[in-house]
Symmetry: C5
Subunit: 353 residues, 5 copies
């Protein structure tokens, strides 16, 4: 529930006030600056508090990767360096933003969410990634370690990434693509979980399983809330007439859009399947109830007449001729066996046991 409703903490404050709202424990920001392009690849850890990081406007692309967003004065410093709007800074710190893209003419501000499935807690965990795309630079903000962009950094360092020959917009695309890929990985794990549940639901419909299904449905609601607006964001980038997005990356954005649609489609499919599981769960319970009732009916139907017959001959009437006959007892026993056998035969034929 917590993650569905976080904004409340900031209610009553000045709009634009810098407050850190987030789930992950805030840490001291750590920043890496990477310059690349024209065959170069330079990487350096920098101290954000020490002044504005250098941006090369005439050649190559600069990528500033910031880990940790909790220190207000650091963000304000960066904001001053790059002329960021106060609301952008607020949104970077407040990790309960909606996925969105905003055009501030000089730069685009993009908010996206990585998705991770935590097997222990059976929960979907998401981290907010903020991207600032300028004409020659990209700044990425992550809440905490681990760095989801590490594989991309390594590809850049290895000198084989396509990004090395393209502009800042391609870098932004590559970062977004990495984020969407986390969704695929998370969804695959959720899919495995669903498959496990599907096997269990008909065999062993326990209340505990029901609660797991319910919890999964809730996580799916959260997933949906996190991924649906992604579609609008990538769609907006694709249409965007800002000069920050060049036509060279249009096919890549189209590809990213398709991936986003696939993520959304998969979530919808998983939702449908999960809803279907509830039907099976309820049917399984009904079936079990049926089985229990059948057993009860069989037992009662077999023993009630027998007990009644025994009761008859337990009566103390003085004149009961059968009681005196030496064959009375065996005949009654035989009749009882016959009745029980016939009834069991009938039930067996009806498939009740």
């Amino acid at each position: 529930m917590r993650k569905l409703l976080q904004q409340a903490a900031a209610a009553g404050l000045e709009p634009g006030a810098l407050v850190h709202i987030g789930e992950k424990e805030p840490k001291e920001p750590r920043a890496t600056v990477i310059h690349y392009g024209e065959g170069r690849f330079e990487e350096a850890e920098i101290d954000l508090a020490a002044g504005c990081p250098h941006i090369e406007v005439d050649r190559g692309v600069t990528w500033i990767n910031v880990m940790g967003i909790a220190r207000q004065e650091v963000l304000e410093g960066l904001g001053a360096c790059f002329g960021l709007h106060g609301l952008v800074l607020e949104d970077i710190m407040n990790t309960d933003q909606r996925v969105k893209v905003e055009d501030f003419t000089d730069y685009l501000y993009i908010v996206v969410k990585t998705i991770e499935w935590q097997e222990q807690t059976q929960e979907v965990v998401s981290e907010q990634i903020s991207l600032i795309l300028g004409s020659h630079f990209v700044i990425s903000f992550q809440e905490a370690e681990p760095d989801v962009f590490e594989p991309l950094r390594q590809r850049l360092a290895s000198g084989k990434a396509r990004a090395l020959t393209m502009g800042a917009d391609y870098l932004a695309y590559a970062l977004l693509d990495t984020v969407v890929d986390t969704c695929f990985v998370a969804l695959e794990k959720v899919g495995d979980e669903v498959e496990l549940m599907e096997d269990e639901v008909a065999d062993d419909p326990s209340t505990e399983l029901l609660q797991r299904i319910h919890r999964l449905k809730r996580e799916m609601i959260f997933l949906r809330k996190a991924t649906w607006p992604m579609r609008e964001v990538v769609g907006a980038l694709e249409r965007r007439e800002t000069p920050l997005i060049t036509s060279a990356i249009e096919p890549y954005l189209r590809d990213l859009y398709d991936h986003t649609i696939q993520v959304i489609d998969s979530i919808e499919a998983l939702r449908d399947i999960t809803s279907g599981m509830l039907d099976i769960y309820l049917s399984s319970i009904s079936n079990r109830l049926n089985a229990v009732m059948k057993l009860l009916a069989v037992i009662s139907t077999v023993f009630m007449p027998l007990t009644f017959i025994a009761g008859i001959y337990g009566m103390n009437f003085h004149y009961m001729p059968e009681l005196r006959s030496p064959f009375g007892y065996p005949i009654v026993l035989c009749v009882m066996v016959a009745i029980a056998g016939w009834m069991l035969y009938v039930f067996r034929r009806r498939g009740w046991f």
Copy 2:
């Protein structure tokens, strides 16, 4: 039900007739006028019946904050001062308006709703806030105390609010932002309530809980009705080509729009979760029924054969050789124990108890 259907009271009257329709007890209007801008901040309580409040058109912003909307002649006086349309006055008094924005060229008329969750009655209470945004002034109408804009007034008085350096449109934005924030606070409380219910629903599915869920669902319908049009209102403000909205506050309106979407998303998510709870409720009941039936089946299945055997040897046949054997009784007892033991073993293995 009352709050879903209030308009009926005004049926049959002249359209535009000033009738107070509302839940809160009407009170004598009380008004505060605040002048600010260019470093100033002046605040005064005024008597609305004594004539038109002074508006400074050449410098700063004037904010008239009216508490209480029940006195018709006061509203008519204000309406005459500011040239408000008769229907606007009617809408201000009738607190069953739909959330909306209307452009009357000289001023915008905005109707919004604050949301409050009352824990005692488990109900959502809403208050209608009417805003008149002119070129140099904002008039806000609230139904009753407490003043939800008090924190904003204090920020203005403290000299640190951003509003002090901006125009009347920013003030209107700040007021709307305050209203949306009340939704976040209310939703968080509803979320806590839902979480409590979720814990209860599997453990103790009582009819009383069902009715609480149903009541909550009804409150959610009301919440939805109150917040969905908010989206259109803020969206319309964002698009509005009226000169009353300047481009300077566009990012703030965008931010407000995002908040509104988040409120709506959260309500939808809570609705989904509440619906899911009903499924769990029904399943819990079914599970309990199953448990009861299993107990019944176990008891019957164990005791019916035993009682039958006892019945056999309670028969009064003269020739029942077992009855005479000195080992008859202990053997029968042993057989009974064996049957009972075997059955309990079978049920235990099936996990029935």
Copy 3:
């Protein structure tokens, strides 16, 4: 069902053929002509068969209020006087029209429905109102008495209605507003009905109540069918670039539009609540079943072991040492009481009774 499907009666006829289709018993048309404007208010009952009613084109507004639509030749006469299209005449007579507005350049043809909740039959009854709005006149057609426009006529007669100073378009608006107001009144009554049912549904979920809920749902389907297109109609009027609608009544149409949306919202909310009642109904039945089964289980679980013990000592074995002991009987009785007491204690602790 009847009112959902009336058109069938006209199938196979010439399109435009004048056939009266309606629920209310047709009556002899009766018409009133009201001239007003420029301080005047003149009212006269006229005989439609006697020729065309006089319309004052140079001053004021003429309102012809026709009660009863069943006489074909009368309608044809009126149609000839005002140059109405044959299909308009057909639509006026056939009261199974969809709510709609049609622009015939010289006049607008508007079809709306009044809504009434009949408490005795628990049914929603609707009456079709046709309006012809020309440049200086309005003709209104009602199916039968009572005249829903009577309050408006009285306001006009009293000389205090705003309509007296405005054009024919305002009169049309005022008539539409009256029609929408009937919906509010009907919805309030339906709301009261729903509230009553809500109290009943958890306490006494009888089959009869279920059928009342079902009937109410069906009435709601009908209500929805009657009110949804209202939204389009008023929206179309608001947008209409016909000179018949002047800009002076734009705010009133906007207000009317809001009222229409509120009617629709309320119907949707009532639908949701009614659907929710079905869930409660089913849960109540399940809960009762549970209660019955628990009673059965308690009774069986308590008495089966006791009866079994009694059965044991009812066996006729010759060698049963307990039977001879003078304390056998009281001890067995004590054991029975102990077993029963313990079981009742267990069930009480589980909250079964």
Copy 4:
């Protein structure tokens, strides 16, 4: 199921290949040519194989009404006469077309479906009607007898139809109107069927009724599939800027559009009602189960204690003082009657029987 999925038969063939796909037994085509206009009405049966039928381009309207569509060479001949596209011929023969309108500049090709409710099989049967609307002629294709356009032909012959004074587009409209009217008739019959079921569902919820409801729902799915696109077709005709549709018939098309909407609304309403019946069905079953269980509980609760008491005094203890008392037996009987009476009183008060 068959009628939902017919296209498969043509899979793998050349697109545009003329294959007859349909439910009705194909028959030899039979064609009637009707010339009318300027006071004339001429009718003749013609042999399509004998050459192109004569079309009067300079005066009046020609209507060629073809019954039977199974003979490929006949259709190809007609297609050559009127310059019809190969795909049009294919679509005429293949009666599994979607309802649609296509503009081929020289002519419009319209596909619609008549609806008929067959009471014996409880099924909706539909027939595909293809219309070719040229500037002076209309060609209508029906699958088989009976001719649904017979009433229209008779009105034309009687000299009283409005069509006689209007163009080919009005004839096409009149044909479409006839088709929509078949829907009204069919829906009324379905409505009667639904009403019958509604009475039955609470009284006698048999499995057979459930299957009838299910079958009806399936027919409704089919009905919906057949009528929804009708809306687009008539809407497209209304908007169409083709010179084949003149402004004179615009009000008629608008009327037809309204009728189409009413058909669709009625189907939706019937669907809602049918879905509601399922709820009642399930509730009725639950109620019956409750009644059965209550009976069982009453019986068990009354007789178990009594049988237990009888069991007590059936024990063979030597020292049971009550057994010797001459009042033991009557007292025990009285106690039993008292217990049974008290229990029955309690159950009666709870309303269990």
Copy 5:
């Protein structure tokens, strides 16, 4: 589940990296080149690794049909020959693409899916078909044998196909038409399966059937995911202002669009029917439970009173006058028979057995 979520395997890779992702076992690519037009038809198997296939730009159409997509270097070679974008090559190899069409100015890239219903596994299997439509050529990529385009190839070879007289765009249309036809065939089989289940669901509602229904629903989710975007693709082709699509094939594309809509409509209808089956399933189970409970109630209600009476006369009171009467025993037996008979009569009249 696997086929819903395949993309994960490519997460973390360079966008555009050529990785084969697919279900079918990759095979060595095999390619056929067909030249036709102007009365010619030439066909040859070629070795893709040996260089660029010859395209005749000045006359006729060239169709390159590639079977097998797993060899990266082969695809890269082809991509270089025809100037295909890297992302296109990636999409061809990765068979988890969404159905889509992309315009690369010089060529269109179209991704579609064939559908096949595998009766043994009760699963829908789909194969990705990629089409490259240039001005004089079409390249089609299939994952594996069998060649779904074989019938089309044979029609071309026979010299009777319409494609022989038309351009490359018609060939692309014919290929798409073939793909849509596979859907019809698959849907017909699914429809048969649904019909089978429908017969079974009321007669024998086993858990195994429930799981088959659930599996079918899941397959339908998959089907929907595969076919919905088809609509957009064909719609986009129809609208496309690219010179690659000539106006000559517009009617064919319209026809294809209609077929696509029919496929989608049928899937929706099948979904509705399948959902309806679940309702019947649950009702059947409830009905059976009812039947079981009725039996139990009948048995208990008949035998409990009888056993009680027998218990009465099994009591050992010394003074029980009935016991001594010589008619006691036969009278009690008669009373028992009378009670049993009366109860059975009552139950029979209620229709309980």
